[in-house]
């Protein structure tokens, strides 16, 4: 491209240069040519003038000779111009030199002839005038002699004819008559003078006429006219070649200029095209920068941009999240996922938003946003409800499969808009709140998050500082009143010495790698603690722990190292875990049992309580959830439920443990029902050391 521009530029400059040079050159040439042609013409004119004036001079008695003098001056001057003209000095015109030199010689001769002619003509003309005037007197002077008169008139006649015809032959006759005059014997001095004068003039004519006629014939030869004509023709012949050359150069120039122009035009068209291509590219890029190509909605970047420019005075955002979108993608494939995103992107464009300068965004993943201006919370609540309904009832059809989805919507008008909305949305999902939630500062979500961060930080510090401790709560046989085993419970010792229970941090930790550390240190410490104790002891493991193969290796290693302790270990599995992987659990139980461990189901009777899997899993103990236990004294229904669980456990040969035993009455009642063990504040709070008592009376 650069090369082509350079080429066009060079071509353009070259043609401009050549054109300029050519213009001046041809102008110069045209000027020189005109000068030469003009001078030739003037030369011819001067020659014609002289010829005409000489003729006039010959005919008229009196004539003004100035014109002849001027004519000759002009002739010489023009010739000099011509001879010195720069054009004729050029090589191609050198062949004209012969013509010029011959013309010059002839003009020089012509000058002399003209001068001479004027001299001779003056005398001859005057003599004729004189003779004509004078002859009349012969009659009176020579009355007796007619011969004189005859001689004189014959002489005049002959001379006149000679002058007119320019024929010297007439002089022969003149000579004899002149001799007569000369021989005449004059009578008087008057006669003598008369005859002498006549003889003088006739003799003058006689003597000078041959030269006069010769001069006149020279002047009339037209030789110069022919030479001028030849020069003109020869010159034009050569000039013709020059003009052909000039024409050719002009043609070449024209072609050059057309070429340069064409290439410039082509380049212009190309650069125009390139420009529009770049423009399109820019538009595409701008589109991509601001729009999500899948849905055609504005993207996160555009949202940021809009917010940064503060285009909205009182903005409100609707953050819309598709529930379980990950499952849809997994189940139906991403193509269907994309199709749903596209449909949703259209569905969220409710006409009711139109008065509020809506902007619709696909903020990424399964998040959509609707940005609205100055909308009241009452209005937006209704609209959001309408939106959830319309999406809920919309049937997405793909290959005859009908799919329904639901969305959660967070509404927020408080800056930072999107962050707050996102926070409240996550919170609502986690807490399974309403499908439509408002962000408000009173939710304290921010503080909560800050607290969480603080909690995790102090937990992390605690792990590092070995401040995670096991506390122990005795589990008492309701039959024998003796301490049978201990449940190890995790505690965090804070820097001020205070002790924090797991509720404060366990759920948070479960979302972080800290959780493994927590479990690990617990297992290790508990093993160490019960190494030399006769008691059975239990540790709480979650489904998550079961699935953590690394943790499982640690556990197995400990079991192998402490085979005696292993036989006293009971693992409490949380029944309330959401995702209960029954296979993994079975595998785990089988593994643990091979070391002689026992398995308990914790918090039984809540969550997804399911009797069927109890049958499948070789469980040794059921720990009945405290929320059931605490109500059996007051509510018959709970009593019946617990009784049923106990009955069921007995049938399977599984021991039962009642939690939250807080009163003697309750302990009595539980004993009555036939529950195997009890634990709770009635007996002992969890403590850093094992209880000093081995029996508890009630």
């Amino acid at each position: 491209m650069i090369n082509k521009i350079f080429l066009a530029l060079v071509l353009g400059l070259f043609s401009i240069g050549i054109t300029t040079y050519y213009y001046f050159d041809q102008r110069d040439y045209a000027q020189k040519y005109k000068t030469v042609v003009n001078n030739i013409q003037e030369l011819q004119n001067a020659y014609n003038t002289i010829s005409y004036e000489i003729l006039k001079n010959a005919i008229y008695s009196f004539s003004n000779q100035d014109e002849i003098a001027h004519g000759i001056q002009e002739l010489n001057q023009r010739y000099a111009y011509l001879y010195n003209s720069p054009l004729l000095q050029e090589s191609q015109y050198l062949t004209l030199d012969n013509d010029l030199i011959r013309l010059g010689t002839d003009i020089s001769v012509y000058n002399d002839d003209a001068e001479h002619y004027l001299m001779l003509n003056a005398g001859i003309k005057n003599s004729f005038v004189f003779l004509l005037n004078y002859s009349e007197r012969s009659q009176s002077l020579f009355p007796q002699d007619k011969r004189i008169e005859h001689d004189i008139s014959t002489i005049i006649s002959e001379l006149s004819n000679m002058r007119r015809l320019l024929d010297k032959e007439h002089l022969k006759n003149v000579t004899t008559h002149l001799q007569d005059l000369k021989n005449f014997d004059t009578n008087s001095s008057e006669q003598k003078i008369y005859l002498e004068t006549v003889i003088l003039h006739v003799t003058y004519i006689q003597q000078n006429f041959p030269q006069f006629s010769e001069t006149v014939s020279h002047l009339q030869s037209k030789h110069i006219a022919t030479l001028i004509k030849n020069l003109k023709n020869d010159f034009n012949l050569i000039a013709q070649n020059d003009f052909v050359l000039i024409d050719t150069v002009a043609l070449i120039l024209l072609i050059l200029i057309v070429l340069a122009l064409t290439s410039i035009i082509i380049l212009l068209v190309r650069s125009q095209r390139e420009n529009s291509r770049l423009k399109r590219l820019k538009q595409d890029l701008e589109y991509l920068a601001n729009y999500d190509p899948l849905t055609g909605l504005l993207n996160r970047n555009s949202y940021n941009h809009t917010m940064l420019q503060k285009k909205y005075e009182k903005p409100t955002i609707l953050l819309i999240n598709i529930n379980n979108f990950k499952h849809i993608n997994n189940l139906y494939g991403t193509e269907v996922g994309d199709y749903i995103l596209q449909e949703v992107s259209q569905l969220i464009k409710l006409p009711i938003f139109d008065p509020f300068q809506p902007n619709y965004y696909h903020l990424g993943g399964d998040d959509f946003g609707v940005l609205l201006e100055s909308i009241s919370s009452k209005q937006i609540m209704g609209y959001a409800e309408a939106l959830t309904q319309s999406i809920k009832h919309f049937i997405f059809v793909d290959n005859d499969v009908e799919i329904n989805i639901t969305v959660n919507i967070a509404i927020n008008s408080q800056l930072p808009l999107l962050e707050n909305a996102d926070m409240v949305l996550k919170h609502s999902k986690k807490e399974h709140l309403e499908s439509i939630v408002f962000f408000s500062k009173s939710l304290g979500l921010k503080e909560q998050i800050q607290n969480n961060i603080n909690t995790l930080q102090s937990l992390s510090t605690a792990i590092d500082a070995h401040s995670i401790l096991p506390y122990f709560q005795p589990i008492i046989s309701l039959e024998t009143h003796q301490v049978v085993k201990y449940e190890a419970l995790v505690r965090q010792r804070n820097s001020d010495g205070s002790i924090t229970g797991p509720d404060a941090f366990i759920n948070l930790a479960a979302q972080t790698p800290l959780y493994r550390e927590l479990t690990k240190t617990m297992i290790e410490q508990v093993f160490e603690h019960f190494k030399d104790q006769p008691y059975r002891f239990s540790i709480n493991l979650s489904m998550r722990d079961l699935l953590d193969s690394e943790l499982m290796v640690i556990l197995e290693t400990l079991l192998e190292k402490n085979p005696e302790s292993a036989k006293r270990l009971e693992i409490e599995l949380l029944e309330s875990e959401n995702l209960f992987d029954i296979q993994a659990t079975e595998h785990f139980i089988t593994l643990l049992k091979s070391y002689g461990c026992r398995i308990a189901i914790d918090d039984f009777g809540t969550g997804y309580s399911n009797f069927s899997y109890l049958a499948r899993l070789s469980v040794d103990t059921l720990k009945i959830d405290g929320s059931l236990i605490s109500k059996i004294l007051t509510d018959e229904k709970y009593l019946k439920t617990v009784e049923a669980i106990v009955h069921y456990a007995n049938t399977l040969g599984v021991e039962t443990v009642a939690e939250f035993v807080e009163t003697q009455e309750l302990a009595q009642k539980l004993k009555e029902i036939g529950i195997t063990y009890g634990q709770g504040y009635f007996f002992s709070k969890p403590q850093a050391t094992l209880s000093e008592r081995t029996t508890f009376d009630f």
Partner: protein
């Protein structure tokens, strides 16, 4: 015979009917740079242009003598004698050639002649430049007019020629007669007729009443030939140019005695008579002489205006 006569009569009639062969001088001059002309006038009058500082152009072309010299030959520097009678500088722009023998075509070429002639002003172009470039007045004048700080011979000649171009003597009685502004007296009219009839007009015609052709002194009756005078032969070496000179102008002829190249005629009457004898080959009556002189007097024009300008 009859036929011949008829033809001749027709000839004469035609001639009479032709335009007047003499043309009046223009009354105004075009294309003259007056500043240059005035500078030329100063130079023309300044003897600084001669080798001994005694001779100016005007010494031999006196404005008191019709632009000519009343002496038979002019005297140059150191009293050196010239070789020919000084011709008038008046109306010289209308001469077809310059000098008695017409050896140059233009006034430009003529100007350096007397300036460098040994017997006249005896300078050289270099000397002239040297002298003038030392002269503050001329340096200033030339600088003003030619815009050059150095005076060159070309500019000197240009100034002189420009001045000479203005030396025109218009409004003579005859010119005014030709223009129809006045009637000539009987004598004058007769004189003009005689001038034509005797054939003087054959050579003395045109705007300058002569000075447009060469002629031999002694066309019919031989005239004394003296080789010391530079004749046409001295320039061309052609035999028939011996004793041939430029036909002189007759304008202001009354002011420019003596006459002829050799100053042989001291008076106009003598000159007319000698011309009749030698160049017309006729004997002329006293009446005819008087008439012709009456006519010649009408050719005296006004003194050139430039001479009286400040």
């Amino acid at each position: 015979m009859q036929k011949t006569f008829f033809v001749l009569i027709l000839f004469v009639v035609t001639a009479v009917c032709a335009l007047e062969p003499i043309e009046p001088l223009p009354t105004t001059l075009d294309g003259i740079n007056l500043e240059k002309a005035k500078l030329g006038r100063t130079l023309f009058l300044d003897p600084i242009l001669s080798s001994d500082g005694t001779i100016s152009c005007a010494s031999c072309h006196s404005f008191e003598h019709g632009g000519a010299d009343k002496r038979d030959v002019s005297l140059g520097v150191q009293g050196r004698k010239g070789d020919i009678q000084s011709p008038t500088v008046y109306n010289s722009r209308y001469n077809f050639k310059q000098f008695w023998n017409g050896r140059v075509d233009s006034l430009q070429d003529q100007a350096t002649g007397p300036l460098t002639a040994h017997s006249e002003m005896d300078m050289s172009p270099e000397k002239i430049e040297k002298v003038l470039n030392k002269n503050l007045y001329y340096l200033k004048q030339f600088k003003k007019i030619y815009h050059k700080s150095h005076i060159t011979i070309d500019d000197v000649v240009d100034a002189l020629v420009t001045f000479e171009m203005t030396l025109v003597t218009p409004n003579s009685r005859f010119d005014r007669y030709l223009r129809g502004e006045l009637e000539l007296s009987e004598d004058e009219k007769r004189g003009y007729s005689t001038f034509k009839a005797l054939g003087c007009i054959t050579c003395h015609n045109g705007i300058n009443v002569g000075a447009n052709s060469f002629q031999k002194m002694g066309l019919f009756k031989p005239y004394k030939y003296n080789t010391k005078f530079p004749d046409r032969y001295a320039h061309t070496n052609k035999e028939y140019h011996k004793n041939v000179y430029k036909v002189p102008t007759l304008r202001n002829i009354t002011l420019t005695a003596p006459y002829f190249h050799d100053a042989q005629a001291k008076t106009l009457e003598e000159a007319v008579k000698m011309m009749a004898t030698h160049n017309l080959g006729i004997s002329i009556t006293q009446q005819e002489v008087d008439d012709i002189i009456s006519f010649l007097k009408t050719l005296e024009g006004e003194r050139p205006m430039i001479l009286d300008l400040p």
